[in-house]
Symmetry: D2
Amino acid sequence: MTRRLKLGMVGGGEGAFIGAVHRIAARLDDDFELVAGALSSDAARAQSSADAIGLARSYADWREMAREEGVRADGIDAVAIVTPNHLHAPMAHAFMAAGIHVICDKPLAVSLDEGRALAQHARDANVVFALTHTYSGYPLVRHAREMVAAGELGEVRVVQVEYAQDWLAHPIEQGGADGRNRQASWRTDPALAGPAGCLGDIGTHAYQLAAFVGGMEPVAVAAELHTFVPGRRIDDHVQAMLRYANGARGMLWASQVASGAENALRLRVFGAKAGLAFDQEAPNELWFTPQGGEAQRLTRGRVTGAAAAHATRVPPGHPEGYLEAFAQLYRDAAAQIRARDMGVPPPPESTLLTTVDDGVAGLRFIEAVLASSAADGAWRALG
Amino acid sequence: MTRRLKLGMVGGGEGAFIGAVHRIAARLDDDFELVAGALSSDAARAQSSADAIGLARSYADWREMAREEGVRADGIDAVAIVTPNHLHAPMAHAFMAAGIHVICDKPLAVSLDEGRALAQHARDANVVFALTHTYSGYPLVRHAREMVAAGELGEVRVVQVEYAQDWLAHPIEQGGADGRNRQASWRTDPALAGPAGCLGDIGTHAYQLAAFVGGMEPVAVAAELHTFVPGRRIDDHVQAMLRYANGARGMLWASQVASGAENALRLRVFGAKAGLAFDQEAPNELWFTPQGGEAQRLTRGRVTGAAAAHATRVPPGHPEGYLEAFAQLYRDAAAQIRARDMGVPPPPESTLLTTVDDGVAGLRFIEAVLASSAADGAWRALG
Amino acid sequence: MTRRLKLGMVGGGEGAFIGAVHRIAARLDDDFELVAGALSSDAARAQSSADAIGLARSYADWREMAREEGVRADGIDAVAIVTPNHLHAPMAHAFMAAGIHVICDKPLAVSLDEGRALAQHARDANVVFALTHTYSGYPLVRHAREMVAAGELGEVRVVQVEYAQDWLAHPIEQGGADGRNRQASWRTDPALAGPAGCLGDIGTHAYQLAAFVGGMEPVAVAAELHTFVPGRRIDDHVQAMLRYANGARGMLWASQVASGAENALRLRVFGAKAGLAFDQEAPNELWFTPQGGEAQRLTRGRVTGAAAAHATRVPPGHPEGYLEAFAQLYRDAAAQIRARDMGVPPPPESTLLTTVDDGVAGLRFIEAVLASSAADGAWRALG
Amino acid sequence: MTRRLKLGMVGGGEGAFIGAVHRIAARLDDDFELVAGALSSDAARAQSSADAIGLARSYADWREMAREEGVRADGIDAVAIVTPNHLHAPMAHAFMAAGIHVICDKPLAVSLDEGRALAQHARDANVVFALTHTYSGYPLVRHAREMVAAGELGEVRVVQVEYAQDWLAHPIEQGGADGRNRQASWRTDPALAGPAGCLGDIGTHAYQLAAFVGGMEPVAVAAELHTFVPGRRIDDHVQAMLRYANGARGMLWASQVASGAENALRLRVFGAKAGLAFDQEAPNELWFTPQGGEAQRLTRGRVTGAAAAHATRVPPGHPEGYLEAFAQLYRDAAAQIRARDMGVPPPPESTLLTTVDDGVAGLRFIEAVLASSAADGAWRALG
């Protein structure tokens, strides 16, 4: 058996939903063991969080952690960065400087310049830098990408992508009967989240999914950001029109005030020959409809195709979900890290892992949307 | 029993899909009997079409029909205009001038000026002018409107409407193995369809549905028309962003090249308290989801509410469809015509019938979209 | 144009849901005009019902109607019998004796002997005898039958059919705040409905649908009837296991106390090569899934095949429903009546019309279920 | 942190799908670490399987493993038994005799007598004996049970449960292009699977799900087993009718030849007030419909209720699946094992874990079905 990789984590202490998700995902396929962490910026909380999960080495300070783990003989192979956005860049730089591979939450950073510097550093330091665009870990998302690339849709003409939630429909970041919602607080604070609210939090997921499956990024965007909730300091609604180099057209909608929506990330791609539809909330099926023809419900486990097979654990009809998609990123990161450490090319099936370059693309999109919205929706080229 | 109204028809001869639909719709609730027609601009075809359906009075020329029917003692009460768009205005004027009520296909006309003149004429002539926005005849569309108006969604924030088809994904208007498709030919010919292709044909349906249910029209639009099929002289794809006076935002997408789509008109409205979703292809259900809550599947026949009850014929679980929605417009038109002829106000439940004023609103939308698209997507106010 | 046939109706007066349905169905395709009726056994109600719909000839007594219409020069071609079950046989005999074709509600009669006599009389009198198993009028039900017959499923192995409603979950026939429910009253009264309650009312629909699509009737049944509602004099729940001559197995479930169900008639047929599924509440789609393969959503309008095309009025994506399925029976009956009156064979596409023989088959099923249930579920052969 | 429990595994070597599933499930919530195994009855395969997953202690013989692990200071706390059915009993007895807790695949054993002896032994040995009825680990299955128990459906009247697969539609156990399917081979061999084929493999899952949610077991069953595939030595199809003590009625259908079905386990329960429906292939939603009312789509994460909350890891709209349900059993087993070892009662939320007693109930059902089928479907009481 290949040895388990040693993983560290920054952020993700008690009360932080995403930390537990990362830990399950890292563990699910048995490629990583979590051995070190700086789980909170609050020293006491960091220690109690580490104790709660039986963590071997707990640090009060992430800078110290990067330094020490970089020099220990049994130091971590990779670090998971699961903090508010503004810390992604400094943390990632510190761990890369220590020769440690990085698995980082999205959005990559709070500006395109920051993102580009990270990409450059990753190349210079020769580390693997995975970005957790979870939804690209779904087998059928990868299968959809493969179908588009194989020309099964014909030339792509239309992209429709949307990501709707409703949990920010009211000002829960401003307190209430239950106090301030921690998740909402940092996500709606520009100092922590960066200049993009809904746009950065879920709009980038929608953008990435469309680019990943469609196999192309738009060349220009006309967009409008909006804030529905009084007192909120950041956008909670994004609408945008897209133009692609091949003449395709698209629309992107992201909203955190769409009453009734849970986590409704949906993509449709229409080509000259056929269309595809994927709904993140029903990830074990993918709809394919030829022009003028009948819809086919492709299912995880029954579709043939290398990409989907690689990301599948259980037979058809045994649903996989969000945690398995997340675990897929960890599994692919592990494969890439092992290859990198051995100085060999990564296994081809691991290369659908989203990376720092996808993060840079997301930041290009964010900046173009911000610019277009500021210019009353005028078309803006993507960096 | 109230007597059956006498109906005439212009257009709708052999090979014209919509003519048969109108005839079924007019007959379904037994309010009309078809007695006269000028079913084709081709005299021979007009006669053979009339013979095929056993029509009492067949005219070779619609002008003559308007004149004669206007003076006969047993002349028609109303005329159904089911021709290409460019003829709507001259025909409707002729019949209104003869004191005959009008039931007209959409879009109302080929320009906003034409539309306004029709609306003025209808008021001056004191005739009922129904416009066949079929989808507003569905019981659950009317129920949705009622729910929004009653405040069940709270303040409306987001409108998402789309209408996707795929039958024009290829240049079937330019001929092929089966010859030129007649439906496609006139719809893609600006001389017959007017300057708006997909925009006029189905974009106006989407626009009307959103306005009807949401109870409000946008104040500005930023739009982009596109033509995907080489050689086509008119748009086959519309994407638009919408702004409403109350701060709401919206998106409208209409496409006739969306491979796989049949007749996919879908509306979602999100308010501060709840969201609604309706899919024309599953018209016996309406989805209502409170913010943070569970989706409820409201069904035709089980929902209580006067508007839906009025438009329902059979019990829950016995699906009604497109023809029943269309018939509802005829039923409401009949009620209004009888009231008008008696000089009394129309029954309140008949007043959801779409009229010449909805047609003018559609033309306002068309002109704003054309203007915005010509200005590279700059926001344009709606007339 | 072929002339409209003259239709009479027995039963279906004010307050009888099914009378209005028959009238719409008869009118929808313009093959019939309703000219005579004995709409109620109550003379005053018969007259007021006739007046309400502008009926030309109203009779107080159906025997008189049969006699007079049989001898008038302009007498009715066919009669629709839409009364409680116990009257089907005497009425149908009377009209057949007068040389009048019959369109009769199901179940055909209240005993198998009665049913066999009707079938014999229909043959002797050389009249068309249509039985309104509405659901076999759906285009996709006919398409499903065609697919099975063409061997697309391989040898049929398993049949699963069910029909669930909830409107009799409580004793609404016994009165309440709104008084006794008329529909429920006669359906739960053995003197009017016959010995089979839920079994006769909807169990026969389920049975017929399975036989129609599967192309075979079971040879034996093991069944249990049950009455859940206290005080009810007739079954409101049926469960049965089926055996077929080719070794296939099946289950049938019908319930009128299935809380939440509207009109949930569903059929699944599994063969050695593929399976089919149809849901009456979504009649514009049919699911076909090859063994080990992906589900295909076949849609009305897109499926090719003569049977479906014959029963289709509007394009794909424009939903047809229950009334159109019902109208299909009238359309096919009209075609058969015209052919019979001309002494020629009926058009092949009209021959999927359900007839008196389907009614006899339903009564065979009823008697076998009653016998099995009385014998504590022992297997009983079908007549 | 509570310490990780030490887990052993018997069976589950290379090529055995269910072994990997157990390992992921055991690992997912970090309650267990796998340290020992006898992964195959073939010594070489046992060793290579152990090597492939980095197992600390590999045994060639499970009897030796039970003995040694029972006396080691660092011996396993629990053993997962993931072998063909005929080995469950001897293995479980051996590990219980060594004081080791048991997590065993279903069906519990190959006869009711065997099952009863296991239950008695578990009580005598004071060990936790978990049976992996995976589907009862779904949050919404537990929620459904809670709703029924709380009376939200009223008195339960009707239970409809089914489990359809199609992977045994052809004789894949008898070889073919790809050789004999290993999974199919033992499942269709009475010497390994016991006398019940489809009945034991998936029929027991369906039975258990209905009993778990409905809160009651039937008192009698009338059943018919059938074998469709020529040469198969065991049933591949089960149909049964059920009677409950409170007068409720039910049907159970299980098939492994239902062409097109993947893993279609579905349960519907109807009470006097409302109905529930759950589909294992869409486990993040549960449908609740009041009599005469509108369906509500309850979702994992949004439903409130202690049972569902306990079994939920990620927020609404982030799908959980089969592996998470399986992990829930491991999590609950861990909680019970820790409590047992400490001599305290198990945490209440862990007590929905399915146990040896559920296994005995399943065997009672199997024996009654076998008896009824052998008696041509006569009703047979459950043990």
